[in-house]
């Protein structure tokens, strides 16, 4: 998009955007200050002793007005020298070098956990508004970086940037009500939703807002389609894949999953389980609390599992896939140039190879009576192995025919329980041994209330959900490719 532009031309292009951007932010803060002032929600934060005026009370409206004026100044500066309004080069380099799939995923997890545990602090309007302003400021300051601009301003990726902001807002909206309700219920009061007259007339209370939303949304979509034309690419060709080749944005979480799993697993089994699991929720949920009002404390388990699945396993993966995956599906920092020849060492090994070729010889070097050379990948079995003295070419036709039918099965299971035994045991243990253990320990009360079948369904859905981050961790820490790898029969886990 900015190819072939000189730096001066690029800054011209950015500055025309940034002026509007910063002025909109100034307006946003001004409106917030006006709202606080007119609605009588002004609060005095501190009394500042000034030499001439005496004690001046600094209220929240005044602070946001000042912030708005600050943004207006930034807007003016962006009109003149946008290159001044950027993050320091060293800071950008630091972010580029420190980010990778591991830091990104671990970082978002840690941030989400912090946000969750200190939610009563983060949902305070002043704190939330500060974070909101900082998010926009970060976006504005990063826009002057050519590589960042290239990714974020791409018409394909604009919705993802909107998604990040919208999701932050709506998560705050829900969480703040839940926190307020939890506080009220701790004091023995009913939740906010039970207070007012919650029933309204369909006409006009519902139909009017719907009509207005419909018109506003249509206008917005038309404006968007005019402002950011849909990107058209060259004609499709079966022998040419664009680099990087990205799925539609809503599938980028799936595409990220495919990096760690066999296509059959990440493309068919796990997505179907996501759908089936969501459909199963009403049948698995035995907690009657939280019906018709926001709450977190009363539904701690459901809330945390859902937010983990949605925010962590779906949204952050979409953001990762859209903004941070470049050519050859390599990871690129937000300010990094998309270099198609970036070298990344990713030598992945199957568990069976690790076990038979590295671990067993290493173990046997400690045990003198086992010769270390005897360890190798176990091979496959076939019907001919049963009587090796017979040459298969001399077999009578019925036995050869039988061998043709039996051999694939024999081969598959000998691979599954021979060469791939360590992985098979791990996977079977994970899915068969863990649910009873969970029922006896952590989920004791769940098991009592749900009964055997419902608990097993829930436990297995949970384990499948957990298998994705586990597999990612194994890939990052041990360079593990597959736990069970039988490419001969397209069976990889």
């Amino acid at each position: 998009m900015t190819h072939g532009l000189t730096d001066a031309q690029f800054f011209d292009k950015v500055s025309s955007f940034l002026v509007v951007f910063y002025l909109a932010l100034a307006l946003m803060n001004g409106i917030a200050a006006l709202y606080l002032w007119r609605s009588g929600k002004m609060k005095t934060w501190l009394k500042l002793p000034l030499p001439l005026l005496g004690k001046v009370s600094i209220s929240n409206a005044l602070v946001w007005l000042t912030v708005g004026m600050g943004f207006a100044v930034l807007g003016a500066a962006a009109g003149g020298r946008p290159d001044w309004l950027s993050l320091p080069e060293s800071f950008r380099d630091m972010i580029n070098e420190s980010t990778g799939p591991v830091i990104y995923s671990a970082g978002t997890t840690v941030i989400l956990i912090i946000l969750f545990f200190f939610r009563s602090f983060f949902v305070r309007p002043a704190v939330a508004w500060t974070i909101w302003n900082l998010m926009w400021l970060f976006l504005g300051l990063s826009m002057t970086d050519r590589d960042f601009f290239e990714i974020v301003a791409k018409p394909d990726n604009v919705p993802i940037v909107m998604l990040v902001f919208l999701l932050a807002f709506f998560t705050w909206l829900g969480t703040s009500q839940a926190v307020a309700n939890d506080k009220r219920m701790a004091n023995g009061e009913p939740p906010l939703e039970k207070l007012g007259n919650e029933k309204v007339l369909v006409w006009p209370d519902l139909v009017y807002p719907e009509l207005i939303c419909m018109i506003a949304l249509t206008a917005f979509l038309i404006f968007w389609a005019i402002a950011l034309p849909a990107p058209l690419e060259e004609a499709a060709s079966s022998v040419k894949t664009p680099n990087p080749s990205k799925a539609p944005w809503y599938f980028l979480g799936l595409q990220e999953m495919l990096v760690y799993y066999d296509p059959w697993m990440a493309g068919v089994v796990l997505p179907s389980l996501v759908v089936a699991g969501l459909m199963a929720i009403p049948y698995l949920d035995f907690n009657k609390a939280g019906n018709g009002y926001y709450t977190i404390k009363e539904r701690m388990f459901s809330y945390s599992i859902f937010q983990f699945g949605f925010l962590e396993m779906w949204i952050t993966l979409i953001v990762l896939g859209t903004l941070l995956r470049g050519p050859n599906w390599n990871f690129f920092g937000p300010y990094e140039h998309w270099d198609a020849h970036k070298v990344q060492a990713l030598n992945n090994v199957n568990l069976s190879e690790m076990f038979w070729e590295q671990f067993m010889p290493w173990i046997s070097s400690f045990i003198p009576w086992i010769s270390s050379s005897s360890w190798a990948l176990p091979g496959t079995l076939s019907l001919a192995d049963i009587s090796p003295s017979l040459d298969p070419s001399n077999w009578p036709s019925p036995i050869a025919w039988l061998g043709g039918i039996v051999d694939p099965f024999l081969q598959f299971f000998s691979l599954l329980f021979g060469r791939e035994l360590p992985g098979t045991l791990l996977v079977l243990g994970y899915f068969i041994a863990l649910p009873p253990l969970m029922a006896l320990t952590v989920f004791r009360n769940f098991y009592k209330r749900m009964g055997f079948i419902r608990f097993m369904v829930m436990a297995n859905l949970l384990l499948f959900m957990g298998s994705l981050p586990i597999k990612m961790l194994l890939r990052w820490i041990f360079d593990l490719k597959y736990l069970i790898s039988i490419p001969e029969y397209f069976f990889n886990f």
């Binding site: 919650e198 080749s245 799993y261 599906w329």
Partner: protein
């Protein structure tokens, strides 16, 4: 809780008879309970309207109840004969014989006498709360004020009317003669359905034909790629990828120098990898799978090596690649001499 129990056939019949007796005038839940107290004092009462039966209209049907057969007969006799002494025993007899329906009548009559004029209905409607939706608080207040309203009215099952003769299934002897005009019209319906099925079938066949195009714009599976001398050792030739989807490489595999053709289809999900000369690897842009120069997978999610195509030296000395035959390393097929040319 008695009415919550499942009703036996006898109960249903009793309820049906009762409702029959009451007619249209059923007043709320109190009427639904078949009390013996209601029927016991009714027996003397039943005799009372029976006595003046001859004088006034007998067994006053204005009560809304249906007259029993005996009563109807009594009424008819009374009108015919006009004699008091004749009608009275008949009515009495009916009262003795069938005390139940007769007993209900007074109660039902009482219900029927409730005012039904427009003004009172309007007043009753106005008396109730405002129209439209109400808040939970309002609903609770209303419920408190009128707890009776919550009790569900019992549903009374009316007796099933007897099937009229015309609705009864025709007996075997009464079969319609064939060849009537009605039958002919029905036959024509089959013609219509038949032709519809035929047309649909033809159309399906026609659309099936579209799956097998007349012209297939596919490159031939067998093609020649020049003389072996054009492939210096250690190089991957990418110029046939765009047209045929293969790389021709001259490299070592298992310590043996070979010329082989690798299919440019990723074994993970079928994207087209690119050959990166600087890194000496094939790299897939979709999920980052990487393959060594000999096609063995080493990074990313690809579960198996790239596939080789059949390759041979043709009679004119040129290399000929046959894409229709592929060889998979994990199946041990790369040992097959028809998938490489030794150099």
């Amino acid at each position: 809780m008695a009415d919550k129990k499942k009703m036996s056939v006898a109960d249903i019949l009793a309820a049906a008879r009762k409702s029959d007796g009451e007619g249209a005038a059923s007043d709320g839940p109190t009427a639904s309970k078949p009390t013996t107290a209601e029927s016991a004092p009714a027996t003397p009462e039943a005799a009372a309207p029976a006595k003046p039966a001859g004088k006034v209209k007998p067994a006053k049907s204005a009560s809304g109840g249906r007259l029993s057969v005996a009563e109807m007969m009594a009424k008819a006799r009374a009108e015919k004969g006009g004699g008091e002494e004749k009608a009275a025993p008949a009515a009495k007899k009916s009262a003795d014989k069938k005390p139940k329906p007769a007993a209900k009548k007074p109660a039902a009559a009482k219900a029927a006498t409730e005012p039904r004029d427009t003004a009172s209905i309007l007043a009753a409607a106005r008396k109730s709360s405002k129209a439209g939706p109400m808040s939970k608080a309002e609903a609770a207040a209303k419920e408190k004020a009128n707890p009776k309203a919550k009790a569900k009215p019992k549903i009374l099952v009316p007796p099933m009317p007897e099937k009229p003769a015309y609705a009864k299934p025709a007996s075997g002897t009464k079969k319609k003669a064939k060849g009537t005009a009605d039958e002919e019209r029905r036959d024509f319906l089959w013609v219509g359905f038949g032709s519809l099925a035929a047309v649909t079938g033809l159309w399906s066949l026609a659309s099936l034909k579209f799956l097998f195009p007349n012209v297939r714009r596919e490159p031939p599976s067998k093609f020649k790629v020049g003389f072996p001398g054009a492939y210096p050792a250690g190089q991957v030739q990418t110029k046939f990828k765009a047209q045929y989807g293969v790389w021709i490489a001259n490299a070592e595999y298992n310590g043996q120098s070979q010329i082989y053709a690798l299919k440019s289809v990723c074994t993970h999900l079928g994207c087209t990898p690119s050959w990166l000369d600087a890194e000496q690897k094939y790299k897939c842009p979709c999920h980052g799978s990487g393959f060594y120069k000999d096609g063995i997978n080493f990074e990313g999610p690809a579960p198996r090596p790239l596939e080789r195509c059949a390759i041979r030296i043709a009679d004119d000395g040129q290399i000929e690649v046959d894409k229709s035959r592929v060889f998979q390393e994990e199946m041990g097929q790369w040992e097959d001499p028809s998938c490489y040319i030794s150099v």
